[in-house]
Amino acid sequence: MCLGVPGRVVSVEGLVATVDFWGVRRAVRLELVDEPVQAGDYVLNHVGFAIRRIPEEDIQGTLDLYESLLRGDGDLMAADVRAELEANPEQSPDA
């Protein structure tokens, strides 16, 4: 539950961002993040909210880690990351 999940911000409208998670676009709420977020940023998300903007130098390492986690089928960490994804409603590709 504490793992969160990283994604790339595609667009921002008010307090909701459209975030790309490995090709799937989902809506993420921005009330909790403590820095301005804009298209192109990567954010760490937990239960539907962005909680932190990921610094540029950490993006690749963070993505590598989660990609290795998601490869584990039937794995507890993979399941937790997938549950984090489900917290964000899916949006149409042109959103």
Binding site: M1, G4, L15, E31, G48, F49, L76, A87
Partner: protein, 385 residues
């Protein structure tokens, strides 16, 4: 362990660094000349330790224990009972998935659902609010989780919710329970590993008062295996050098102040209150309850929650043998429980620790806990120095 088997194929991203850290850990622990017990308080840490077989790399004199780091597991039985009673009174309960199987005194929410009560699984508080918007019936969000998750509940309430939506808060606050565990009679814990993502919200400064009071070091760690190994090396060194201080080993995510914006929202909506953590103790300030200003969305004040109808059921006999509380307090491990892997398995859990993906028992059941190093396929043996 069919499900855990795949994970053993996973390699460290940097095996050479893992080896170096393994050596450093052994050197630091050997220099102590005695057993050192350290505690972490995060289900994701235990998942990573078990999944990557890190205990195979730990020196024998190092004992790394999981404490009360599973939010589902420490949700107290009477709190589950409140949810069950409300569901049986005809209120729709929306809650995170793991909560459905967690046993109350006599029934789980899943049991209530099987009897016809409306229990909906959600992945976020926003989805629970959506459920309320789609109906005129009362919807109660049974809100569990530590401060990392409570901030989301707070933000959702501050963002506005429909009149038929309320919250049954079982949110918990981690820093106070560390005090309780440190003060437990017979506790051998000499240092704590704090969860990186929770500290993203609270900041590492929240541990300074704890360190000052208890003279025990705290190291904030990420949950990547290398992060955990590096943090453990640091923690053993701090114990060895008798340096009780907070060290942040997850600087890319955690600052001293944390996420001020999120903290403000958290404490605008919730206040810390004393309460029981399942199986552990009464924890002063360990519960997050809704402030008086939020009475209009507080399920405990809006509804007359009647627990009496539950008393006609007899508690399951096996529960008496469950040692979940001792496991979460770090004074026992799953292999010391006579139900573990026999009567108590993930499909038919007796205790909460076997329910949640962050529960020690479920993690050990899937991955094994302390690896058998004599086995030819002992995980990650290459980390050993």
């Amino acid at each position: 362990m069919p499900e855990g088997a795949d994970s053993r194929q996973l390699k460290f991203r940097d095996p050479a660094r893992a080896r170096d850290l393994g050596r450093a850990l052994t050197a630091a622990a050997d220099a102590m000349g005695r057993t050192v017990s350290l505690m972490h308080v995060c289900g994701s840490h235990e998942q990573a330790i078990a999944r990557y077989g890190l205990r195979a790399a730990f020196p024998r004199s190092l004992d790394v224990i999981m404490g009360p780091g599973c939010p589902v597991c420490i949700t107290d039985t009477p709190e589950v009972d409140e949810g069950v009673a409300l569901a049986r009174q005809g209120v729709t309960i929306a809650t995170y998935g793991d909560m459905v199987k967690v046993p109350g005194t006599v029934l789980s929410l899943g049991d209530a659902q099987a009897e016809g009560a409306k229990v909906e699984v959600v992945y976020s508080v926003t989805q629970a609010v959506e459920l309320a918007r789609a109906t005129r019936e009362p919807v109660v969000f049974f809100a569990t989780g530590f401060e990392t998750t409570a901030v989301a509940t707070a933000a959702a309430l501050l963002g506005g919710v429909p009149d038929n939506f309320s919250v049954l808060s079982a949110h918990k606050y981690i820093p106070p329970v560390m005090e309780i565990v440190a003060e437990m009679p017979g506790s051998k814990v000499e240092g704590f590993l704090a969860a990186g993502h929770a500290a993203t919200i609270t900041g590492w400064g929240v541990f300074e008062a704890f360190v000052e009071r208890h003279k025990l070091p705290v190291v904030v760690a990420g949950f990547e295996p290398l992060d955990i190994l590096a943090a453990l090396v640091k923690l053993v060194e701090l114990v060895r050098d008798r340096k009780p201080e907070v060290v942040n080993m997850f600087p890319r995510c955690v600052t001293r102040e944390g996420n001020r914006n999120a903290q403000e929202q958290l404490f605008k909506v919730f206040r810390p209150a004393g309460g029981r953590w399942r199986g552990i103790a009464h924890v002063p300030n360990g519960n997050l309850r809704l402030r008086d200003e939020w009475a209009h969305v507080d399920a405990r004040r809006r509804f007359d929650i009647d627990l009496r109808p539950l008393w006609k059921y007899a508690p399951p006999a096996l529960v008496q043998d469950c040692i979940c509380g001792d496991i979460m307090a770090g004074i026992a491990n799953p292999k010391q429980c006579k139900l573990f892997g026999k009567e108590c398995v993930p499909d038919t859990p007796v205790g909460a620790c076997m329910v949640s993906s962050e529960g020690t028992c479920k993690i050990w059941h899937l991955y094994g806990g302390v690896p058998d190093l004599s086995s030819p396929d002992a995980p990650q043996a290459e980390v050993r120095p």
